[in-house]
Symmetry: C2
Subunit: 208 residues, 2 copies
């Protein structure tokens, strides 16, 4: 049971969320390392100094954005990769998940793709940590599969990383295709599907 917040705490969280939203919007067209504190407060409509009530610095806000963007995604990924249905079904399920997620939260996806190798170390590390968690979760699901019999632990992790990286690449392709035609998005869907299929075929014959 979650405790009901007082008026004060509630208003604070609301402002904090406004900071996150405004920052995310501004980051559509620039990198975090060039995002200014005053720029964010101006977008939110508060005084510059109000920023410090919520975040120590811009990198700190960036780390909070990473949690918002990836934190709630773990159960979805877990479920999508899970061992129900045959390979082909799981693949189309995964591609569908990615396409839907990108369409629903494009700026989150853009933020992650942009800052994964971006110029702000703490944010890079936060993203790296989350992606490592995804890899471990995918690995755990893959290990359940009878297909994984005879595989070394290290090889399962190798495959899991391949899947995770591939999902990110596809997400970024979907993002680019978002403003394009429906046909363009369809081409991305087919490309992502075939690439996952090829990897899965490689998995099926790994022990040959």
């Amino acid at each position: 049971m979650s405790h009901t917040l007082g008026i004060r705490q509630a208003q604070k969280q609301k402002t904090r969320q406004a900071f996150l939203d405004a920052a995310l919007a501004l980051l559509e067209e620039q990198s975090l390392s060039s995002l200014g504190l005053r720029e964010v407060t101006r977008a939110v409509g508060v005084a510059p100094t109000a920023f410090y009530r919520h975040f120590r610095s811009i990198p700190d806000l960036g780390v909070a954005l990473v949690d918002e963007a990836l934190g709630s995604l773990h159960p979805m990924v877990r479920e999508t990769v899970s061992t129900t249905g045959d390979s082909e079904e799981r693949i189309s399920r995964a591609v569908e998940l990615i396409a839907r997620h990108v369409a629903a939260h494009p700026s989150h996806v853009r933020f992650i793709a942009r800052e994964r190798h971006g110029g702000v170390q703490p944010v890079r590390e936060a993203i790296g940590g989350q992606l490592a968690r995804f890899a471990l979760e995918v690995k755990a699901e893959l290990a359940k599969d009878p297909e994984a019999a005879g595989w070394s632990d290290d090889d399962v992790l190798m495959l899991a990383r391949l899947y995770v990286d591939q999902m990110l690449i596809s997400a970024s392709l979907f993002l680019e295709a978002l403003e394009g035609s429906a046909e363009e998005r369809d081409r991305v869907t087919r490309l992502a599907t075939r690439q996952l299929r090829l990897i899965t075929i490689g998995r099926d014959h790994w022990l040959d």
Copy 2:
């Protein structure tokens, strides 16, 4: 035969190169979208206004950096992927190339990884264009292989993109491992090799 430049042109090119070098160094710890014109000129040791003699803007300098970083890489990739030797040999050749290139030009690699999805549109587009060229070149090499018999053009390109993306991922992993131990770099080598191997196995059974 290249024309010998006058003293004037030679000095100009030298200064221009100093701009590129200084910018690349500064970009080790930030993104292009936060790189300041004055910051660069200060690092080069010239007046701020001298910048305009060489570049229209910072994004313009960024595009020049993309050409410097990727332009000369095409023949190497072409040769590495070429159809001499068996798959296993080609894979270790490719991983070796990546490891060496990252060790020799780490800041170039970092720049590309960082700005591929970065906040500066013209630079993103320049990188995207170069990567598309790589994909086409790899595709051309793959098509030569007897293994490619029966493949659709589209599927060969799909595979080529997979290889190119995978190479970039590996390059970025090598980059992270650069300051680490030799054992850490070795683990990246083994990971990259196995991932390429799995993709190649997928290729071998694609038409089953």
